[in-house]
């Protein structure tokens, strides 16, 4: 469905995305992982039309969508959420949802003066839909709260909720899980699966929580230093040496405090993974 | 010879005046940019602060002159300048206490702050006029010229005059010193860095143990100093008139924004872009052309646009810069 070909995005001289090619299949929930600064968000932003690519192209169902504006992509059914929540702070939670659907009759000035009836009908419908979404997200009690007053996690939920107001084809989720309570994250995970199954949404998910990725995503794409490092099923990826070295790591070294891990074991770990882990080891040793 | 004459004409009528004017704009723009980046609002009162500071300097200069104190070939006003800075900065601090502080406390939106500064502008406007009246005042004394037209003609035998006023030299030298000092202060000293930190993220600055009151106070002191210096240099080079300083606000803001508002380097570059475009693009090139192309005297003035559109031209340039280089010449900060 979405095909990214040889995409490059540089900031000044720095190539945040460096000749990345990948593909998101229709109906999949594709995971996108990688170390901090790998270029995941940048890739999202290029696909979603926030940044112009330096080179390369993006197609959706065979149609070239490189460089289209965000609102144009929205109309093609491509939606996204933000890593840092982008709610409309002075609108109420409900209004945040109701504003989403496109081409509402009430968005034309003419109708606001001479088409009140049309507006009334469409508003009633939107209201119903918004309340359903709020129920689904378990934040109905906040419906009349200004969105700016929500807590960090609540804002994330709201972001997801907005994608549910329309029939999207593909939804890009940038770290929905960060800062979200794990129980709630499971709920979100369920929601994603349900949207995927029932409404046929395709998802592309950036997330650092491997449980979440493992439970939801197939395939998983790993990026590092602007490039695609590996690709495959979640289990497959989690065993990939390169991915472990660059991204996953091997767990806490200082867990000694909770469990008795010997100093030796620690050093063994290091032996196995030189590089990042090694340097970090020196750091902790100081 | 003709080529030299052409060169001298351009230097005399375009390069020298535009450089001095540009330096004055740059100093003004620095003040605006500083307040914008650290206190996060466009300070519309800056022009009138400049007027006030200059007014104080003039009063003190008169005092000195009455006491018979002078500064050799340099203008006495330079001696009065430090006192002017102290008084103006004190006024800035007072204004902050009485007016701005409250809005910071309630975390007012930037536009509210802008409006507040418009209110302060009105008051400063009246204050300056109460202080020193509305008349034009010349307060430059000491040697007027480094090179004057007659000397130049006698010296070189050229038909084109070249003049360099001492105030122009003083302006540029002072501007360079001030800019250097400011950059050193902001980039290298702890207080300077804490000011930038505060401008970036007020809450986090608090969490790092930075005292916001100190940052704000230092900002106002520097702003007061910059305004007084810029205003005095401008007044020395041209003349003082309260109303002019309000009008100066426009090119000052233009300078700050062309350069990238919030960025000190940008403010300086912007000052020169505005001054050179104002002077250069409305210059009538007739004389220069006559020198350069022998045996041809153009009928017209060979002027792109009449000086009526001086301001319009500089704004057009401004808009073009913004279209083709949307971040301003140097990346500014968006609040």
């Amino acid at each position: 469905m979405i095909r990214v070909e040889n995409l490059v995005k540089s900031f000044g001289g720095f190539r945040a995305v460096d000749d990345a090619s990948l593909c998101i299949e229709t109906g999949s929930i594709t995971g996108l992982i990688g170390p901090n600064g790998a270029g995941k968000s940048t890739l999202f932003n290029v696909i979603a039309g926030v940044h112009e690519p330096t080179a390369g192209r993006v197609t959706m169902d065979g149609e070239d969508i490189t460089g289209l504006k965000p609102h144009e992509l929205f109309h093609k059914g491509l939606l996204r959420t933000f890593q840092i929540a982008h709610e409309f702070p002075s609108l109420t939670v409900r209004e945040n949802l109701m504003m989403v659907p496109p081409d509402q009759p009430g968005e034309t000035l003419w109708n606001t003066w001479f088409g009140r009836r049309k507006i009334r009908d469409s508003e009633a419908e939107l209201l119903k839909k918004a309340d359903e979404v709020l129920d689904f997200l378990t934040i109905s009690h906040l419906r009349d709260e200004k969105a700016g007053n929500l807590s960090g996690g609540q804002k994330k939920l709201l972001e997801l909720g907005r994608t549910m107001m329309v029939e999207a084809k593909i939804v890009f989720l940038d770290e929905v899980g960060a800062g979200v309570n794990r129980t709630l994250l499971n709920t979100i995970g369920d929601a994603i699966v349900r949207l995927n199954k029932e409404r046929g949404y395709t998802f592309c998910v950036i997330e650092h929580d491997m449980d979440f990725i493992g439970r939801l995503c197939d395939p998983v794409i790993v990026m590092a230093e602007g490039r695609v490092l590996a690709q495959g099923s979640a289990d497959h990826i989690m065993e990939n040496e390169a991915v472990i070295e660059a991204y996953l790591g091997t767990g806490l070294k200082n867990k000694v405090k909770a469990e008795e891990v010997t100093e030796d074991a620690l050093h063994e770990d290091h032996g196995a993974q030189p590089g990042l882990g090694d340097e970090a080891g020196k750091g902790t040793a100081q | 010879m003709d080529f030299l004459n052409a060169l001298v004409a351009i230097t005399n009528y375009v390069i020298i005046p535009a450089t001095a004017y540009g330096a004055q704009l740059a100093l003004g723009a620095l003040g605006v940019t500083l307040v914008y980046s650290i206190l996060r609002f466009s300070n519309f009162a800056h022009g009138d602060t400049m007027a006030f500071g200059t007014g104080v300097v003039i009063l003190i200069t008169w005092g000195f002159q009455a006491m018979g104190i002078s500064f050799g070939p340099l203008p006495t006003a330079l001696l009065a300048l430090p006192f002017g800075i102290v008084i103006t900065s004190a006024l800035m601090l007072g204004t902050d206490k009485v007016v701005y502080q409250y809005y910071r406390k309630v975390k007012a939106a930037p536009v509210v702050m802008v409006m507040v500064s418009v209110g302060v502008m009105f008051i400063m406007n009246a204050l300056t006029r109460f202080l020193i009246g509305v008349d034009q005042i010349n307060f430059a004394d000491g040697a007027r010229f480094v090179i004057n037209a007659r000397q130049w003609r006698e010296m070189t035998g050229m038909s084109e005059p070249l003049t360099l006023r001492s105030t122009q030299v003083i302006t540029v030298v002072t501007a360079i010193l001030v800019v250097w000092a400011l950059f050193w202060f902001l980039g290298r000293t702890r207080t300077g860095k804490s000011m930038r930190a505060f401008s970036d993220n007020e809450d986090l600055a608090l969490l790092s143990g930075i005292d916001p009151n100190r940052v704000v106070a230092v900002t106002w002191i520097i702003t007061g100093a910059l305004a007084t210096i810029a205003g005095t240099l401008y007044g020395l080079d041209k003349s003082f008139k309260a109303f002019t300083y309000f009008q100066l606000l426009l090119p000052i803001f233009a300078s700050a924004i062309v350069g990238g508002i919030g960025n000190p380097v940008g403010a300086i570059a912007g000052g020169f872009v505005i001054s050179f475009s104002e002077v250069g693009l409305t210059y009538a090139w007739k004389k220069v052309v006559t020198y350069l192309i022998p045996n041809w005297e153009p009928d017209g003035l060979v002027q792109l646009l009449s000086t009526d559109y001086k301001y319009a031209v500089s704004f057009t340039i401004l808009i073009l810069v913004l279209i083709f280089k949307p971040t301003g010449l140097f990346k500014g900060k968006i609040v």
Binding site: N36, G179, R182, L185, T284 | D200, N201
Partner: protein, 234 residues
């Protein structure tokens, strides 16, 4: 009495109280972790401890001294460090300057501390001259934690330090936190990566609607099936 003792905190942003008689204590060298659903008031509790919220009731003592009335800057001087959940870097200052600002109240040489931060987060060394605003989400988080470590505080408060950081960095971060705690510094943190966090915690708080719902050792909370199911995602 514990090193930090915030007792019966009650207050909020406007009309309604967000915190309802919430109590948090940390001993010297101890790691205390706050978990709870979104909107429970965890961040609010942290802000309250740091003096960024007006408390209607309750008081905060540090090392036996009542600091309820102190301003945040003064609390920094008393040895408290805080990494907020959002807006936790100086975006137009370089990474290096961000760290320097962390050491603002220190008069001694902070070069050593900075080197330590760089070894902990190597990527920051590469990016030391880049503005923090141009970093990726996870990199920023590292800068934020680094900045707080620069203060060399006696009490370090972290609001979701691992949100958005990759697993490998998260592990490093937790490692470093344990180390820091071992040197006698108290740690109070909010975490949504609750299982990892509780694993290293000496003490865990489950906050619900601004109230202490469960308080126990980290292990005990992890072992409680009810807590696991409702708050830790099974």
């Amino acid at each position: 009495m514990s090193y930090l003792d915030a007792r019966d905190m009650t207050g909020g942003y406007g009309k309604a109280d967000i915190l309802n008689s919430c109590t948090l204590t940390v001993d010297k060298g101890e790691i205390a972790v706050i978990v709870g659903p979104n909107g429970a008031g965890k961040s609010t509790a942290m802000k309250a401890v740091f003096g960024m919220l007006n408390l209607r009731e309750g008081r905060v003592t540090l090392d036996g001294v009542d600091i309820t009335a102190l301003s945040p800057q003064d609390r920094v001087k008393k040895g408290m460090g805080f990494v907020p959940q959002v807006n936790n870097v100086f975006p137009t200052m370089s990474v290096e300057e961000n760290l320097e600002m962390g050491a603002f109240i220190r008069d001694d040489d902070f070069k050593v501390a900075m080197e330590q931060v760089f070894t902990l987060f190597p990527i920051l060394k590469d990016k030391r001259r880049q503005n923090a605003g141009e970093l990726s989400g996870g990199q920023r988080q590292q800068v934020a934690v680094g900045r707080a470590l620069m203060t060399q505080p006696k009490l370090l408060m972290l609001d979701e330090p691992t949100a958005g950081v990759s697993p490998i960095v998260m592990d490093e971060l937790f490692d470093r936190i344990i180390e820091v705690a071992r040197t006698g510094i108290s740690i109070l943190m909010v975490e949504q990566n609750a299982r990892q966090a509780l694993e290293i915690a000496d003490k865990g708080y489950v906050l619900v609607q601004g109230e202490n719902k469960y308080t126990d050792t980290g292990k005990a909370l992890m072992a409680d099936p009810e807590v696991r199911r409702t708050f830790l995602g099974g």
